[in-house]
């Protein structure tokens, strides 16, 4: 049908099926700001439009209903003069990060301000009530509205989006806005889906209905007869190449335990067949005609089931080692079922797949027996975490094609170079035949560190030669994607009456699900990012990760640290309560400080011996003290209502800044012929502002305006290798690489200037805005310098190259404080106040750093109180949508929510910077658990902490 509409003031004829979702018709007609994050659930709001004067979800309107309608999309906000004042304020406030639904939020706020120029906080909340923000939290949206008000009143914005640091620097440490913020908030065609031309093939994946089964046969003959079906790939036709999907440095500390498609399916939703077709309809019809014969096997879902004697084995194939094979491997493999598929370890991870153990590690310092003997009190409790899902607003997506005999992959990824390596391996082609282009990432949070769709799409394109587009449904995101590893963590902690902790033991049992992505590294973070915060002489950990048949797990912001902190922070609170002392004083008595040697790290090296290093810059004590003052620690609050009890809690936290000894960043900085600057960064900006960081670093070193620096990143053809954006490595590794490249270029500029000017190099210096000056008073600007260098008689273009690898750690520290109100009659929980204080070294982008702290803390509040991926007894996901899964929205944000940057300057980070966002996931769970215990006396030791659990703890039923 054709619907006559008015869109953004112009008559537009929309074409499509009458019952088609209006969103799809709008996107197809070129209104690409109208995106889709929830497949029409009516939750996330990426599809928001103004329809006949009201804010609506366009997914919930049929095309025929648009006949005669007045429609406004976010495209209406941009004019020839640029973005509107709301969009400008959003960029300035730092809320435009991964930005998949930033245009929708801008539209909602613009509409609000048109009708109500002076909205209250409640009005703003209502305007954003139907828009899910996962990356930046909601706090700075209020600031953005304040900025708009100010600009409309005074003509300019004086409100600061964050504090400034390092007065001697021009851009670093200053809230400048993202260099790509305008394009993102305007809704430019920046995401993978925007690159897909018409007539591209689609891919559908037929998935297993069983949690554990052997595929006896797959008959695709009828399906292949469907018009438009190009190919169907199954376990019987895919390459016999073992790999794994975790995007980690090679050799990886995860086993190669899968092929593209496997004869044994190991979770509900596991891949059975990949259908390549010329239309969705053809693919769907083909899926109905594929006949699969399964032999169901008994599944295991929990760590307890997996470790039981005689438990069904998730992997029973042949185990191989690339290096370090045990002497008894042949004997071990006698019990193997060769048809089940190989499990290949790059090096030993203390695995034993005959007992479902994917990886293990053990170690510690001191004398545990002595430590516990010295204690006046001991707590020994077990804490259980759940399986939160990253829920990026842009689901996993990939578009690939053949071009000039090479495989070109447009990816939404945190690890373009790992994508290149893994896809090349699967296709058995060299890396020079693969070109990965990282497009803008509409939310990653770790899940796009894993190569979950590019492997299959890449191979299918290589095999068929056809361009293919694939996008996970939201449901597939929940049951066929990566999630946090559920963990059962036992903590035994002993302490003296004076608050000294004498010993800590952690027993971490992690559930990796069907495949071993990050099976060592994520669980190890439960200990390696928690124990080193304690100045305790006796500490020991046991880590064992089990295979099961739950949906896949993998990387998620914070890795295992949020779970480790939930356990160890709660245990410390319980111990303090038992000893009758103040937990905050106990914390301060047992924390590390600068210079303390971290002996505990020796065994926590992610598959190799760890480095013992001293604590570097550390703002932990200041964060604890300042946070305590802010929240009025020690002062009991009274709600005035006997049903509502108020409690306070806190957590001390740390993370890392990448993986010293494992990660590497590389960059180039070019002086273009007109004296402007192009940074080619291997780092993958996933919305966090890494490109802005690279630009600022280059502008600072080269002393040029930020506006003359552009950045290309994450393109494997144009840029140099980088291990990727994970483990909080972006600022430290990719940023330092850009810094080193800029310094290299600065040196070359001086050298070239000396030759051109006939001066001594030591007499020259670089000055703002982009010129070389001599002590003699002569000068040359970059444009002239570069022009002459690249002229016919010149010495060549000036290009700086920088790499960064290091054994040094740049550990961020912090403390999070929570105040909760709990209704002891109904179990309702409200986070009244949440203060996140973190030492990020020199925050290069302070406003982005603050928003990432809000976003990460909100995620963590969600994991602690609300979010829950639930399976039934057969392993089927019962929560394959947002409403069932329950992530927090603006209504759940704490009433008083503050992020504070503690000012320290790191020895090793670029301009003293450390990482920011992962650490912010670590505090909410222990802080809220402690606050609830303070309010009610009940320690809830499992995620999510629900009203039902509290009421049970209170003995209400």
């Amino acid at each position: 049908m054709e619907a006559r509409t008015t869109i953004n003031g112009r008559s537009v004829l929309l074409q499509g099926r009458e019952d088609e979702r209006l969103r799809d018709a709008l996107y197809r007609a070129g209104y690409n700001t109208v995106r889709d994050s929830d497949d029409g659930e009516g939750f996330a709001g990426s599809d928001t439009i103004i329809f006949n004067g009201r804010l609506r979800y366009s997914n919930l309107i049929m095309l025929y209903q648009a006949e005669g309608a007045e429609i406004r999309t976010a495209e209406s906000l941009r004019s020839a003069q640029g973005i509107n004042d709301v969009q400008e304020a959003m960029v300035k406030a730092g809320v435009v990060q991964s930005a998949y639904n930033a245009p929708a939020a801008a539209l909602a706020l613009t509409f609000l301000l048109e009708g109500n120029p002076d909205p209250t906080k409640e009005d703003i909340k209502e305007a954003l009530s139907g828009i899910f923000i996962r990356d930046a939290g909601y706090e700075h949206y209020y600031l953005a509205v304040d900025m708009v008000r100010e600009k409309r009143r005074t003509g300019s914005i004086s409100l600061e989006a964050g504090p400034s640091f390092r007065s001697s620097l021009r851009y670093v440490g200053k809230p400048t806005g993202k260099i790509d913020g305008e394009a993102l908030v305007a809704g430019d065609r920046l995401f993978v889906e925007d690159k897909v031309p018409p007539h591209t093939c689609v891919m559908h994946v037929l998935r297993s209905p069983f949690a554990h089964a052997v595929i006896r046969s797959i008959d695709t003959s009828e399906a292949m007869k469907v018009d438009g079906v190009v190919d169907i790939i199954t376990a019987f036709s895919c390459p016999d190449v073992y790999y794994m999907q975790a995007g980690q440095g090679c050799p990886e500390p995860s086993p190669y335990d899968r092929r593209l498609l496997n004869r044994t399916v190991r979770h509900v939703g596991d891949r059975v067949a990949a259908i390549v077709a010329e239309s969705d309809e053809a693919a769907a019809a083909a899926a109905e005609l594929i006949h699969v014969v399964y032999d169901p096997l008994k599944p295991v879902f929990t760590v307890e089931e997996a470790m039981a004697d005689g438990a069904p084995l998730v992997h029973s194939g042949i185990v191989r080692y690339v290096s370090g094979a045990p002497d008894d491997l042949d004997e071990y493999n006698k019990a193997a079922d060769p048809d089940d598929g190989d499990v290949i370890y790059q090096f030993p991870l203390h695995a034993d797949i005959r007992h479902n153990i994917a990886a293990a590690a053990h170690g510690g310092i001191g004398d545990m027996e002595k430590g516990f003997a010295e204690a006046d009190a001991i707590v020994d409790e077990t804490y259980q975490t759940s399986q939160p899902q990253c829920t990026p607003l842009e689901p996993h997506v990939c578009y690939a094609l053949m071009e000039g005999g090479r495989l070109v992959i447009h990816a939404s990824t945190q690890v373009p170079y790992h994508v290149r390596r893994i896809v090349a391996k699967i296709c058995s082609i060299p890396e020079n035949k693969v070109h990965v282009i990282k497009e803008r990432v509409g939310g990653g949070y770790g899940s796009k560190q894993d190569v979950l769709v590019e492997d299959l799409v890449g191979y299918a394109v290589w095999k068929t030669g056809r361009p293919i587009y694939y996008r996970n449904t939201r449901a597939e995101e929940f049951y066929a994607n990566s999630t946090r590893h559920p963990m059962r963590i036992r903590v035994k902690m002993g302490g003296k009456k004076d608050g000294t902790i004498t010993a800590i033991y952690m027993d971490v049992r992690a559930n990796t699900g069907p495949y071993g992505n990050h099976c060592l590294t994520v669980p190890m973070n439960a200990s390696s990012k928690t124990l080193p915060i304690f100045r305790v002489d006796n500490m020991y950990y046991d880590l064992i990760t089990y295979y099961t048949n739950i949906p896949p797990t993998g990387a998620y912001q914070g890795y295992g640290a949020p779970k480790g902190y939930f356990a160890i922070g709660s245990a410390m609170g319980e111990l303090a309560m038992k000893l009758g002392i103040d937990p905050l004083e106990m914390a301060k008595k047992n924390i590390v400080e600068e210079g303390y040697m971290l002996e505990i790290l020796r065994g926590l090296g992610e598959g190799r011996e760890g480095a013992v290093v001293p604590v570097g810059s550390c703002g932990l004590r200041e964060a604890l003290e300042k946070g305590g003052e802010m929240i009025g620690w020690g002062r009991k609050e009274d709600s005035g209502d006997p049903d509502w009890k108020i409690g306070k809690g806190f957590a001390m936290i740390q993370q890392g800044s990448g993986l010293p000894g494992l990660d590497q960043g590389n960059a180039q900085v070019k002086l273009l012929t007109d004296g402007t600057v192009l940074v080619l960064s291997g780092g993958a900006d996933l919305g966090t502002g890494l490109d802005t960081l690279s630009a600022k670093v280059a502008a600072e070193v080269l002393k040029v305006p930020l506006s003359v620096v552009s950045v290309v990143s994450g393109d494997t053809d144009s840029c140099l290798f980088d291990t990727g954006a994970y483990a909080s490595s972006g600022t430290y590794f990719s940023g330092n690489a850009s810094l080193n490249a800029a310094k290299d270029l600065a040196g070359k500029i001086l050298k070239e200037a000396a030759l051109q000017m006939g001066e001594k190099e030591e007499d020259l210096s670089i000055e703002y805005p982009g010129r070389v000056v001599s002590r003699s008073g002569r000068e040359i600007d970059y444009a002239r310098l570069s022009h002459d260098a690249t002229a016919g008689d010149g010495r060549g273009q000036l290009i700086g190259t920088g790499a960064f690898a290091t054994p040094n750690f740049a550990i961020p520290y912090g403390a999070h404080f929570a105040e909760v109100a709990v209704n002891v009659r109904t179990g309702e929980i409200k986070v009244r106040r949440f203060y996140a204080l973190q030492d990020a070294g020199t925050p290069i982008n302070p406003e982005l750093a603050l928003c990432q702290m809000y976003g990460a803390a909100m995620k963590s509040i969600g994991h602690t109180l609300y979010e829950d991926l639930v399976l039934d007894g057969d392993g089927r996901c019962l929560t394959p949508d947002f409403t069932g899964y329950c992530p927090p929205m603006i209504e759940e944000a704490p009433d008083d929510f503050r992020a504070v940057l503690i000012d320290v300057c790191d020895q090793y980070g670029p301009f003293g910077a450390k990482s920011i966002s992962e650490i912010a996931c670590n505090g909410a769970a222990p802080a809220i658990a402690m606050a609830i215990a303070d309010a009610t006396g009940v320690w809830v030791r499992s995620w999510p902490i629900t009203g039902e659990k509290i009421l049970r703890g209170l003995g209400r039923f």
Binding site: R21, R474, T826, D868, F957
Partner: protein, 227 residues
């Protein structure tokens, strides 16, 4: 197939004559991923009928069935507890589309409005195949096979009451929604059902079951302490 009804009578006639048909009002359920109406083959669009708006006459407030939840929430004519119940739909975009009639007619066990309208002892004006009828909200709610089209709700002007919603988040399915007005209690209990009566134990008539919002034990407890 989509049928656009020009009158309420036509809509009801279509509803009776078309197998697998359902009314489409705001469309938030019909179009929603995982809709309970996904099997509907014949859509009877009533959205253009003149059934929206809120008025006050003779001591009664009349709320047209196609009045959106946002309009209900904002109207000062509507009793406060019913307005508050409309806000249980936490998304502005949904409230701008979803209608009071659609929400009530779906008879969901986590309905935003059912408990409030039942406790408020509202009357429901219906178009049936025999013509216009007025029934109590309770009577309509119990008759699950009814093909009538709701035209409006009538509630006493200034009626007082209370509503409570217990859910994990503002956007999640509510475990229990309870309402009380002038001694009439109503409860919507997730995955279990809805009941009302002049007793605070009215919930005991519901066969309460475990679901994602909580155990049966938890929901029974909540229902017992809400008021």
């Amino acid at each position: 197939m989509i049928h656009i009804a020009r009158t309420a009578e036509e809509a009801v006639a279509l509803r009776h004559s078309l197998e697998g048909s359902a009314y489409l009002a705001g469309g938030t359920e019909m179009m929603r991923l995982g809709s309970s109406l996904s099997g509907v083959r014949e859509i009877i669009d009533v959205s253009s009928l003149p059934l929206s708006g809120i008025s006050n006459a003779g001591g009664k407030v009349r709320i047209g069935a196609l009045t959106t939840l946002q309009d209900v929430k904002e109207s000062l004519l509507v009793p406060a507890f019913i307005r508050e119940a409309a806000s249980f739909c936490a998304s502005l975009q949904l409230r701008n589309a979803a209608t009071i009639g659609g929400n009530f007619a779906l008879r969901r066990s986590d309905s935003y409005l059912a408990a409030a309208l039942l406790a408020g002892e509202c009357s429901v004006e219906l178009m049936c195949s025999e013509g216009v009828k007025v029934k109590s909200a309770d009577e309509f709610f119990r008759k699950t096979e009814c093909r009538a089209l709701i035209l409006s709700f009538l509630v006493d002007e200034g009626r007082e009451g209370r509503v409570r919603r217990i859910g994990r988040t503002s956007h999640s399915h509510a475990a229990v929604i309870g309402a009380e007005s002038m001694g009439c209690h109503a409860f919507s209990i997730s995955g279990s059902g809805t009941a009302c009566g002049h007793s605070r134990d009215a919930w005991k008539g519901i066969d309460i079951r475990d679901d994602l919002t909580g155990s049966a034990e938890y929901k029974r407890y909540l229902a017992s302490v809400l008021f």
